[in-house]
Symmetry: D2
Amino acid sequence: MIALNKHPSGRHFLQIPGPSPVPDRILRAISLPTIDHRGPEFANLGTKVIAGMQQIFQTRHPVVVYPASGTGAWEAALANVASPGDAVLMYETGHFATLWNKMALRLSLKPEFLALEGIDDATGLPRSWRHGVQAELVEQRLRQDGSHRIKAVCVVHNETSTGVTSDIASVRRAIDAAGHPALLMVDTISGLASADFRHDEWGIDVSVSGSQKGLMLPPGISFNALSPKAIAASKTATLPKAFWAWDEIVEMNRTGYWPYTPNTNLLYGLSEALDMLLEQGLPQVFARHQRWAGGVRAAVRAWGLPTQCADDRVHSPVLTGVVTPKGVDADALRRLIHDRFDLSLGAGLGKLKGRMFRIGHLGDCNDLTLMGALAGVEMGLKLAGVPMAGSGVEAAMAHFASEPQASSQPQGHASR
Amino acid sequence: MIALNKHPSGRHFLQIPGPSPVPDRILRAISLPTIDHRGPEFANLGTKVIAGMQQIFQTRHPVVVYPASGTGAWEAALANVASPGDAVLMYETGHFATLWNKMALRLSLKPEFLALEGIDDATGLPRSWRHGVQAELVEQRLRQDGSHRIKAVCVVHNETSTGVTSDIASVRRAIDAAGHPALLMVDTISGLASADFRHDEWGIDVSVSGSQKGLMLPPGISFNALSPKAIAASKTATLPKAFWAWDEIVEMNRTGYWPYTPNTNLLYGLSEALDMLLEQGLPQVFARHQRWAGGVRAAVRAWGLPTQCADDRVHSPVLTGVVTPKGVDADALRRLIHDRFDLSLGAGLGKLKGRMFRIGHLGDCNDLTLMGALAGVEMGLKLAGVPMAGSGVEAAMAHFASEPQASSQPQGHASR
Amino acid sequence: MIALNKHPSGRHFLQIPGPSPVPDRILRAISLPTIDHRGPEFANLGTKVIAGMQQIFQTRHPVVVYPASGTGAWEAALANVASPGDAVLMYETGHFATLWNKMALRLSLKPEFLALEGIDDATGLPRSWRHGVQAELVEQRLRQDGSHRIKAVCVVHNETSTGVTSDIASVRRAIDAAGHPALLMVDTISGLASADFRHDEWGIDVSVSGSQKGLMLPPGISFNALSPKAIAASKTATLPKAFWAWDEIVEMNRTGYWPYTPNTNLLYGLSEALDMLLEQGLPQVFARHQRWAGGVRAAVRAWGLPTQCADDRVHSPVLTGVVTPKGVDADALRRLIHDRFDLSLGAGLGKLKGRMFRIGHLGDCNDLTLMGALAGVEMGLKLAGVPMAGSGVEAAMAHFASEPQASSQPQGHASR
Amino acid sequence: MIALNKHPSGRHFLQIPGPSPVPDRILRAISLPTIDHRGPEFANLGTKVIAGMQQIFQTRHPVVVYPASGTGAWEAALANVASPGDAVLMYETGHFATLWNKMALRLSLKPEFLALEGIDDATGLPRSWRHGVQAELVEQRLRQDGSHRIKAVCVVHNETSTGVTSDIASVRRAIDAAGHPALLMVDTISGLASADFRHDEWGIDVSVSGSQKGLMLPPGISFNALSPKAIAASKTATLPKAFWAWDEIVEMNRTGYWPYTPNTNLLYGLSEALDMLLEQGLPQVFARHQRWAGGVRAAVRAWGLPTQCADDRVHSPVLTGVVTPKGVDADALRRLIHDRFDLSLGAGLGKLKGRMFRIGHLGDCNDLTLMGALAGVEMGLKLAGVPMAGSGVEAAMAHFASEPQASSQPQGHASR
């Protein structure tokens, strides 16, 4: 086999904001023998995971499951509802919003990229990458579009590159306030199953997600959750589509099958993940991530470092971006921490390259994995000579010791 | 967990022509913890699997690995080299050739679908679905295309719906003989790593394949092998493409990384599969499949049933299609065999629905798994009241007992 | 890793009478992380497996679970109830009865070894190794023991070396008819969970078993099921004992714990095995093995070879011994079959060395694995030049096709 | 399946002094299909693990591998060399020495139990449980035994109940200085493969060990390493023995087989563990444990709590015992920590019950798992209202950040 870890002993601390640590139950499930995706047993699996994903997305409408990683589901969302040259309004929350914008360009759409203008004084970083979607900017722009040229508003729910979780319901309200017919399309690749997400209640037309974040699976599966309005739009949209086309998949999914070969073994894992999440209850899952995020932010504040998110109302429960002082190369710091302490942290991406790092707090974690990770960061900061105001580890312990778990339901396999 | 088998005991016999039985080594490998696809360990994995896949495709040129199942790689092949409205010449070898043809239509291309005309007298089945690609028909058609409107010739190497393995080198010779500049694009989804396949030597421009056949992996990874001519074509082709676009992937693959999240855990399995196949040697792998195919055909002949392939020069080493007598519903037969003997067989697809079934002889098989499968078919035929000329099981035993394995190299993990 | 199979492809056919093929569910279960055997979760596991094993032994009395392979449980049975120099009456059903007898000698007991005298004319093999325990010989011997010097009668339920399953209830009746107080001790290492076994109803005092046969686990766990009379005897017996001593284990087991470190990961497998067996129901499990045995015997008879068991009333449902013609080295035959067809068969042991081989039909099997195995034997017999009266494979197919499964309950993980 | 963890998310922190956390590589290895322990592949496995264990014990003499947990290997050591009524000199280092002493009594030996007299003033705990073996006491006692009635001196290398690692070479020197022929028998169940151990160089006659500590395996395998003098003694010793008898096992082990069924799947794990340990090198393994122990002791000192070990020369590299202040119930503290932070700590055993807890630092650990564990302890101490002098977590970070890893060789599967 290939070497997966150059460290001499112990389990790697995978504290990036996805792929997240995969629970042992799920890893075992995906190693079961592959079955015939046209056989009778498969229908049970297919039916179960689709129904389960509807609960996760909080929707009564179809959820399309792709045997492809998350970037594919971005393309699927655009390719099913848009026609060449269509205008779409996108919002620059960070690197992933930027990549989705670039993809729209490659697919021959005409994306317009809204942003909060300006540079943040304290950090020298773009303001728009430190705040959530400003719904009033969306509303303002849509009001200008009297001819309804804009076909869709595309926003990122949980911006994985920054640690900002935007208020999606406010975007829906903005569209409605503008009286605009644009579809609302939301990337919740890193938000779903970690942060609260309500496809139907928030009036979303297409939600995009992936397996390797809150669902605690390896990468390789991605999702589109649809609305009736999105389905209607897909019937007239003319971008060429085949692999991503909703129509055949939704049709065959009614019986638990797929028009082409699905990702059988990862679906075993999805089935197991759904058991775990739904046994525990989504409110408990969301509370757990909020609690973790609180502990990590307490540490960052104690160090005296700014979080990338500058608005306390929209801190992500999934990850925390940490801005390093000017002159400190965040990538060199991450490398030092990886090499010394077997801990992976997320890099600063795009406009943030070298200026920040990201701590993931999602997937198969608990208080002590986070304490281990924070200790690794604190030792790394010290070794790198970064001045710290105080001990983040102490602050996080104070947080975790004072605030009990919201839930103590069993994680394990249900006994009979 | 979800129920994967309704039978009370024993391992399922998965004798469909893919997904193929996955070796235990590979199932264990894909259950290892997910790593950071941007971290230092990942580059070793990425570099290794790309280099290994070049050996498997027998090419010195780039191989693109997609985190998506095989149908996606069909789309990738077309989307990278074609522009809206382009003519492509496809050849009807069976159901999968037909599906690729439909996809070309959905992608706004203008496919032309060549076929061997007529109905086979003995079976009432379409002649074109019982023979390989007729290279002279291709040559003839290309000679008529003096203006070189046809951008690509698309053929299926191993037609999974019929059990016919076409002579790809003859198609290349036909294109050259016609002096035509069309690209040669080949679907070897079910041929690669089971039947001999030579991307460079046969002059192929784009080869398309998937993980769940000869590579013995679960579904979820697919491939494009490229030629310099195909890469050149991709630079001017105008079909919208993003997820499937070769340019960014090939560029980032140089360092062992991907532009978006790859299918990490299935790549562990690919790494293991490459170790297994290359340790043993491709000639040994191909000989093993030929030997298995010989045993299965001996059984079918002894039963007195026609094979779907009517040309002895192009029997597939990967699967054997078996035509049932008129009036025998092959799907009812398959269901009976599944329910009684825990054996999955492939269905007759498209124009062959209900008229034939398919026996896969690929993946993690050996003589005795095939003997078990043939016994299951023979018992099923008897229970269904299908008249048999003789015992297929006896004939297959005679074959396997007389012809020793070409190789007895270790399968297991290399000891040090 | 070490090489586990020198064959180039496919799964090994492990058709020895134990270790039996282990279901995939169980292999995954034993690979879960080890927990603290003194922690709160462990008590659930311990309590569950002990209660489940009582159902399997069909007893209301304590079952002792040892973290040791089956030979240890033989020693435990003797060491707990006997004192140095005690007489025990054992019965020579074959090689394992002989080994148990030798162990009694090593432990300073005075075993007497009853046997059916004489050599079988047709095969030249000892008669006692072709028949079950003759209860009248036991009764006769016990009647002679007026002073009740004999402390225990030790018999093997399913003699793994021959394929004879003795009538244990008749031995209890013989002891009672003789009015003798001896304990009845039974080795059902290879019988339990495959052949019907009733610890309480049959009046057994100590039952001995192991994990790697009908329980479908890897080797490493073994069992003593006790009676109140055996427990009473253990309080005065004076053979030195510590690891095997029942008292501390039975005491601690009440709370689900062990006095020393148990075999945690194999206990995960035992928990899973119990789920599988009890979901399906013991009567269905026993019927399945009887049906398999019928198919294998049909094959042996068609070949014209004698089964080792010469009494039709006591054929084992677990394995079938096949006597090779004089002059045919059964071990050379087994080696040929292993090397050519990746099939392991059991050897002739002790007095049967080289004269017979054994086909296991237990564990994670089904009709087609047995058909594959029988085809391997038949091809091997042919290659070795052994004359056969007819086709065993045909006979077995006739058996399996005519007799449907007794049960079609789900094997798989229970869906919710 | 049975519930293995009642916590809602994350991996359990198993920081008890064994069973130790098992590496993922090993868990996957033990889940491979069981093979025939009489077949040709098995000999490679058997031969490899025995040779590897000789390297681990640092001996050229036979190592006996038992399919039984560690307590069995204690019994094996005594049963092979002693006769009923033999005197053995044992030394009370703690709870496990006491249990071994009790076992000797149960096996009808006459053990004499040496100890350092008195109660420690500061803690009120027995002095002998806070110090290593005092070789001068052994020498003194042996000098009194002019008639050489004492057959063996039995000592514990790494006392798992206290965290004291005795100087075994000094015991050998004491025996030699007294001119006494007693065998030296050493329990290194929790020492081997974590602390330096030299069977031959230190003149040990029987070393006893188990799988679930430094070897990083689940429990279920145990070992005796022998000397020629021990083998000679076993030929005349008269304690009844069968399962534990060295003679047959050593004889059959020459070819890689066992006289009875070995623990096949755990042997797969042992093979993998040997690869990992020997790839890295024993000196590196020992240094790693010393480094970890240093970090944990730094934390305990910062808290102002006494370590159970009162002699700085013999602190264990494997575990650290922490004495709680009088009035603090260490078991209640452990329960609180388990329930709140999903961390298992070792209990105070025997004379230490409720007065101390133990932190394991062995197995598949690294700096950050230990930091997570220490944070869990520190939060638990705070929640329990235990006064602390300072922050142990800070002290441990200072230790780990200042002292780099001795080794950075790859842990992973060797790439080719």
